[in-house]
Symmetry: C2
Subunit: 220 residues, 2 copies
DNA sequence: GCCTGTGAATCCATTCACAGCT
DNA sequence: AGCTGTGAATGGATTCACAGGC
């Protein structure tokens, strides 16, 4: 939750809002587009209008991490992209292990967005004996659940992705955490119990739909 | 953003936090579990500990919509479930149309969670001529993009789901909005431009991964 | 005694507004 | 003149703490 701004070591720690991290990830994606379009320099004003947020928000978000702009000018798109890459630790690959190769699991490992952003599925596990040994995508063979512990260690898996039915999810999460994994992206519709040291993000699209439905109804 | 609490009409409008709506959706899922486990009554204290949030938060969230508990006792699980069902408008079906039947699109229409929560995919569209006519799931045949407008109207589609590549996403969103759709769940990695009247939720798992990666790094 | 419902207090995030640099 | 970086002000959301009811 805290950070040494400007990376020169000894200042007081500053709390960085969680929302800022997520927006920075968004900025990264939009800066990529701008660069592809040949934009070299952009003001917080213009950039914010592309992102559909407040210009001061952009400047404040970036200011948590350093001073990346030029007064009177704006931000160099390529440079800012590189800075954000460092902030988000997107300047290296992250190794993922996925458990549960049903429709959703398969869709995720085949989704090239993960690869493009530096996320590599290096292992896949399923409890269905019929699936074990299947090559779900080039060079990725489905392993048994019993292999989770060893493979996590040997392949240095850093983030676990759970796409099993809810009933198995807690057991799978425990296996992953026992194997030393500190971060989990959980697509199963349960709240995973976990120690404070482990990070878990839950993804449930039907919650998004409930939210949309609520607002649709309210407007009508 | 506003609501008439207790549903008797003429009180001043109260702003309901967006986060409250999302938590209410979470409560709904957890109450289903509790009911399945045979729990009949639960205090905000116990319920909050299951949800891993603050008890006052639970009570405050619910209080925006009415008084559902009994002082000195707690909340009746079945009754609260029914009340939340009404709040979230989960007491009826919602019709979805999906555009883009790649890996992710197919995984979504085959995911039984949507069905269980009352969300029905009633139409599927893709631009690939080879896919048109395919039965992607029982009774759901892929249509051409040209049919979006007519089908949306005839089938009374209420929410659009976009699972196309980013390049097509804006065009698809425009088609859906032109056809009168007021809510979109967008899985493509772009920020959709839209009028204020239309609701759009963006889903990008790689943003979740970026967030996890950031925190993993910071801790190490 | 126990637990809900809620105003008040606190905490956090966003936006304003301007000093400071180019 | 133009735009960043940031303290101060505002606006929201969460939590506290207790009055009120079972």
């Amino acid at each position: 939750m805290t950070h040494f701004p400007h990376s020169n070591g000894m200042e007081k720690q500053i709390k960085i809002p969680e929302a800022t991290i997520d927006r920075i990830a968004l900025y990264y994606r939009i800066l990529e587009d701008l660069l592809a379009q040949g934009v070299q320099v952009i003001s917080s004003q213009k950039f914010a209008s592309v992102c559909r947020i407040n210009p001061a928000q952009v400047r404040k978000d970036l200011s948590f991490f350093g001073e990346f702009g030029v007064r009177g000018v704006g931000y160099n798109v390529r440079d800012l992209l590189m800075e954000i890459k460092k902030i988000l630790v997107s300047d290296r690959e992250w190794k993922l292990g996925i458990v549960g190769l049903g429709n959703m699991g398969k869709a995720l490992v085949r989704d090239e967005n993960f690869f493009r952003r530096g996320y590599r599925f290096v292992a896949a596990f399923d409890s269905d004996p019929a699936k074990i040994g299947q090559e779900v995508v080039k060079d990725l063979f489905i392993r048994s659940m019993a292999e989770i512990s060893l493979a996590t260690d040997q392949l240095r898996i850093e983030i676990g992705v759970i796409t099993t039915p809810p009933l198995h999810a807690q057991r799978v999460a425990d296996l992953l955490m026992d194997a030393g994994i500190m971060a989990i992206l959980n697509f199963s519709a349960i709240q995973v119990r976990k120690p404070d040291c482990c990070l878990v993000h839950n993804v449930d699209f039907t919650v998004n739909l409930d939210n949309l439905a609520y607002h649709l109804k309210k407007r009508s």
